[in-house]
């Protein structure tokens, strides 16, 4: 009964909403034009990066807070620490991981640098770093995390704190995250570099914390 109701409701919703979307007149405001017009004073050349770190940088600041928060919640909830055994990694995978990991770090740096002009940036770079960590973990070259020590915590929160510090520093001479146009370039690069490292660590941490019951096995 519930099943039927939900399915019927979902179907009606789809029909109604798609119908309404087809009827829609063009939007009155074209923000992409405003983005292009202000791109020269944003400090970067790639419009998406400009929106992410300048025009709507405040969204991104809060989003990093959400990510850091999720990691803290996982630490606070605690995963069971019973050890269990997973099949040993093959030597082929280990050799592959040793080869791929440095390469992935190079790719991350490239993506970070490229983000100023073309698709790429801190998120993609951080994700690649995290992927390298996960690969190393699967190849058993990097243990799962138990409880992060002081240095690791600094790495996890560092990118967010740099972002927060730059934003707050700018508050004293204007608005939150109001970069002076001539200095916006290096400030955004500074923030993005910090974010790349921290995002890489946090995203890797989400994985390494969840599978930490494998860490203390050997």
């Amino acid at each position: 009964m519930k099943r039927l109701l939900v399915v019927l409701g979902a179907a009606c919703f789809v029909v109604l909403l798609i119908g309404a979307m087809l009827d829609l007149a063009p939007a009155g405001i074209a923000l992409h034009a405003a983005v292009s017009a202000n791109l020269p004073s944003s400090g970067v050349e790639h419009p998406v990066t400009a929106v992410l770190l300048n025009f709507r940088g405040y969204d991104t600041l809060l989003e990093i807070a959400v990510l850091l928060l999720a990691l803290i919640v996982i630490l606070a909830v605690g995963i069971d620490s019973t050890t269990d055994v997973r099949p040993a990694a093959s030597p082929v995978l280990q050799a592959l991981a040793r080869l791929a990991a440095p390469l992935m770090i190079v790719v991350a740096v490239y993506l970070l640098w490229a983000g100023a002009f073309r698709p790429g940036g801190a998120f993609q770079a951080g994700a690649v770093l995290a992927a390298a960590a996960v690969l190393l973990h699967l190849a058993e070259l990097l243990p799962g995390w138990q409880s992060p020590g002081a240095r690791l915590r600094l790495g996890l929160a560092g990118g967010f704190l740099i972002f927060l510090a730059v934003g707050a520093g700018l508050l004293f001479q204007g608005a939150l995250l109001e970069y002076p146009p001539e200095q916006a370039g290096w400030m955004i690069l500074l923030i993005e570099s910090g974010l790349t490292v921290s995002l890489g660590l946090i995203l890797a941490g989400l994985f390494l914390l969840l599978s930490r019951d494998d860490g203390d096995r050997s």
């Binding site: 409880s147 508050l171 608005a175």
Partner: protein, 473 residues
């Protein structure tokens, strides 16, 4: 200045995390004290010189994100900081050194408060989505932290409810952006008033439904009692007193702001929230009267008290309705925080959570019980409490607009509240069985609860200032 209300909690939360497990109490206290001062100064400034605004990044809407503090936001900010500081004092005494639920308490509370303050200040629909997620995940984390199977189950139920709620909200925002090309509330309001295609109605419905789910309005209340009833007392207090009010605030803000032309066009729509609110009052009170566990009783009372907030929607044509709603939010916030704090002390002392096990506490813990009773007076709406002021104004407005049914619901709701409050008090005044042992609890737990309860009464005497603040638009 208002920006610091967001940055400060983010800062002390991060530093508390850097310090490590169980640390950061004093950092949090200092931050909370500063936040209280900031919120108070902001409220004074809003009363003196009107709505305050901050264009983040210096761009201004619609390209950038605006932060706006009007009377409504300033009042909610003040309420949040007023509850957070005493709660922090309480929590410090509540969590023992090695309590697993307290290990990351301070960073989580910091992020929660940052989410709340950011939500109250934001004038951008998408930015509000991010603040909702920050708030929701922090709240779920606080419920789950260090908990057993019961808490984890409650946290998962809460998590899915809050995620579906923000998902619906996000789809609404996507449709709004598609229709108008902006998500700035200030820019949108005249655009929606000028022309609202069908799509915008669907968007409005999705956003409202999502937010009602997050506010636990009947029949979306299923997740609230286990989460608020199962969490540690300081967490329950924070969630019941302010977190559910955040999504209510958003409903109100959208209702009287961008969607005001829609709600005027469909006059029957205004009765839907009021109807659900009425059902919430009856169902929540009924469950509270039946509840066997003390904290479940208080949690169901929250379901009921949230119902009052939704009774104001048919009355919003008069300016006083908004003030009555915010007064109720304040009264319930302070009283419910006090009740959960008192309950935490009682549970620690008696070592159990049943209402039936409270016999004898009147004699041994008079301060705590007095706090519980004072908070109960506010919930019932007896003079001179803030709850009385809110309910009295609600009844007056309802009668002046000939909606006698609303006045009737308010009166009956007050009587039902009296039943469940007296159920607890009566039990507490019974003689303790000879076998009962009570562990002494830190004095701080009893007195912070008392201060909050007293505040919920005394606010009734200072209601004029609050109403004046809310009136600034």
């Amino acid at each position: 200045m208002m920006v610091w209300l967001i940055l400060l909690p983010l800062l002390w939360a991060s530093f508390a995390f850097l310090l490590g497990r169980g640390r950061g109490v004093w950092l949090a206290m200092a931050g909370l004290l500063a936040q209280l001062w900031l919120a108070y100064t902001l409220a004074e400034e809003v009363v003196a010189s009107g709505v305050a605004m901050h264009a983040v990044g210096g761009w201004g809407a619609p390209l950038g994100i605006d932060l706006v503090a009007d009377g409504l936001s300033a009042a909610m900010l003040l309420l949040t900081q007023c509850i957070a500081l005493p709660l922090a004092v309480y929590a410090r005494a509540y969590f023992k050194r090695d309590d697993p639920a307290g290990t990351y308490f301070w960073p989580l509370v910091g992020f929660l408060l940052a989410g709340l303050n950011a939500l109250f200040l934001s004038a951008d629909l998408f930015n509000i989505y991010v603040t909702l997620e920050l708030l929701g995940l922090a709240a779920v984390g606080l419920v789950a932290a260090g908990g057993g199977a019961q808490q984890i189950t409650a946290a998962l139920r809460y998590l899915f409810a809050t995620l579906v709620g923000s998902g619906a909200y996000l789809l609404g925002v996507a449709l709004i952006y598609g229709a108008y090309g902006t998500v700035s509330i200030t820019t949108l309001t005249p655009l929606i008033t000028a022309e609202a295609p069908d799509l915008v109605w669907i968007a409005g419905g999705l956003m409202m439904a999502g937010l009602m789910l997050k506010t636990a309005l009947f029949p979306f209340h299923f997740w609230l009692p286990p989460a608020h009833g199962g969490a540690p007392a300081p967490v329950s207090a924070l969630l019941s007193a302010v977190v559910v009010k955040a999504s209510f605030y958003l409903i109100l803000r959208l209702w009287i702001g961008p969607f005001s032309s829609l709600t005027v066009a469909a006059s029957l729509v205004v009765w839907l929230p009021a109807l659900l609110g009425t059902l919430a009052i009856f169902w929540g009170s009924y469950q509270a009267i039946r509840a066997e566990r003390l904290k479940m009783l208080i949690a169901y009372s929250t379901v009921a008290q949230l119902g009052y907030l939704f009774l104001i929607f048919p009355l919003l044509a008069s300016a006083g309705a908004l003030q009555a709603g915010i007064m109720q939010a304040f009264a319930h916030g302070l009283a419910k925080a006090a009740m959960f704090m008192a309950a935490g002390a009682l549970i620690k002392a008696t070592g159990q959570d049943m209402v039936a096990g409270l016999a004898g506490v009147a004699e041994r813990m008079p301060v705590t019980l007095f706090a519980f009773g004072l908070a109960g007076i506010t919930l019932m709406g007896l003079p001179p409490s803030a709850g009385f002021l809110a309910k009295w104004q609600l009844i007056e407005l309802a009668l002046s607009q000939q909606h006698w049914i609303i006045a009737f619901v308010v009166l009956v709701g007050g009587l039902l509240a009296a039943v469940y409050v007296f159920r607890v008090l009566r039990q507490a005044f019974l003689l303790a069985p000879a076998s009962s042992v009570m562990t002494p609890v830190p004095r701080m737990l009893e007195w912070t609860a008392f201060v909050m309860a007293a505040a919920s009464i005394l606010l009734g005497l200072r209601g004029v200032e609050l109403m004046q603040l809310v009136g600034v638009t």
